[in-house]
């Protein structure tokens, strides 16, 4: 199991953390980015999944 990654919404700065998921929108903790549905949107600003970039720390 590789470590969890984070993806940042380029529009509003919201961070999708694979470890935490987005339980409020039916994405359970531990959901990999690849498994997040394409029609999921940023919970803060409504941006699409394509508007997220992998966070490089």
């Amino acid at each position: 199991m590789s470590e969890y990654k984070k993806y940042v919404c380029v529009v509003c700065g919201f961070i999708y953390d694979e470890k935490l998921g987005d339980p409020e929108n039916d994405i359970p903790p531990g959901t990999r980015w690849a498994d997040v549905p394409d029609d999921w949107v940023c919970p803060d600003c409504g941006a699409a999944k394509v508007d997220f970039d992998l966070m490089v720390i």
């Binding site: 380029v10 529009v11 509003c12 700065g13 029609d39 949107v41 803060d44 600003c45 409504g46 941006a47 699409a48 394509v50 508007d51």
Partner: protein
């Protein structure tokens, strides 16, 4: 090649950053009336429930943009365009204008808040939520009212997307909110009837007092006791009145230069205006399908496409992407797809 971009919202900044990446040999200048940096406009209507919003909303300071090689001219307004001479005049101080030459001009000026004519005579009685400066002003007003020991009481005028979002967020922040909407159901331009009814129930559950079919005719009263005048009479006791009746694309500079405009700046499928080397993107651009795209996903798509196009990487016309608008009303999820 010198590329001049007007506007530092999602459209202008996304374009400038992408074009810098794709075509580092060309120069990019970003002209903006803003002074507080590049911030997330979609978060404005969520700016009351979060204590850290005034710093968190800033995505990039202007000096950070400059570090990527974009020249930023902030606090300056575009005032006149000469498409034949490829020059744009801008103004910082009232008497201080400068003229900028360009090879390509990208207009991404965004929109102002739309103010219905009956309200224009009393600008001191209401506020709008269209910029970070507006948000900071509204937050200061809330703080003052709360410091005086009162619960802030707001009238929100307009039950469209922004009005519903702001009413929801103010109510969740602990304020009393009355939402006036001229039509019989909320967000009628985005939602089917069933979802409008759900939205009404969600807002009422958060103690937002929703007045449908309420035609607001004007405002009266004094700063701490403002009044909303409707066809049914007058309601007073508001600390603030927030007008959220839609957006008005900033087309004046283009129109005065003789560029074709309707509601927005008219562009073809290559996002080009009818003036050579002048393009328009964002919610001020009226696209070939007659639409103004006022949502994040298509606007970013326009910006990234235009960067590729001007970098010589694509000759295919811009195609609007599939996208799903979503109102950020606490506790509300539409069952049916949004209308657009």
């Amino acid at each position: 090649m010198d590329v001049l971009v007007v506007g530092s919202g999602i459209a202008g900044v996304s374009f400038a950053e992408e074009f810098r990446k794709l075509a580092p040999d060309h120069s990019v200048t970003l002209l903006t009336a803003e002074t507080l940096g590049y911030y997330s406009r979609p978060l404005l209507s969520h700016g009351f429930t979060r204590d850290d919003i005034e710093t968190r909303i800033i995505l990039r300071r202007f000096d950070q943009l400059e570090q990527t090689g974009i020249r930023v001219l902030s606090g300056r307004e575009a005032v006149a365009l000469d498409p034949a001479g490829h020059r744009l005049d801008c103004r910082a101080e009232p008497d201080q204008t400068a003229s900028l030459a360009y090879d390509r001009l990208v207009l991404a000026p965004g929109s102002a808040a739309l103010i219905p004519p009956p309200f224009l005579g009393t600008p001191e009685k209401f506020k709008v939520l269209n910029s970070l400066t507006d948000l900071i002003g509204l937050r200061r007003l809330r703080d003052e009212v709360r410091c005086s020991g009162s619960q802030p009481r707001w009238a929100v005028i307009g039950g469209g997307l922004i009005g519903c979002e702001a009413a929801s967020d103010l109510a969740r922040a602990g304020d009393r909110v009355t939402l006036f909407h001229a039509l019989p159901r909320l967000m009628e331009r985005q939602l089917v009837e069933e979802d409008s009814a759900d939205l009404l129930a969600v807002l009422q559950n958060d103690h937002v007092d929703v007045r449908l079919d309420a035609q607001v005719q004007g405002f009266a009263g004094e700063p701490a006791n403002l009044a909303v005048v409707t066809q049914g009479g007058m309601e007073d006791g508001f600390h603030g009145i927030l007008v959220a009746c839609g957006f008005k694309p900033r087309i004046e500079v283009a129109r005065n230069a003789g560029i074709a405009t309707r509601r927005g700046i008219v562009v073809d499928t290559f996002l080009a205006t009818d003036a050579s080397d002048v393009y328009a993107i964002g919610d001020a651009a009226e696209c070939a399908d007659g639409r103004l795209y006022a949502y994040v996903t298509p606007i970013r798509s326009q910006a990234l496409w235009l960067a590729r196009h001007l970098a010589g990487l694509t000759q295919e016309p811009w195609q609007p992407p599939a996208f799903k608008p979503k109102a950020k009303v606490h506790g509300f999820t539409a069952v049916h797809p949004y209308l657009f």
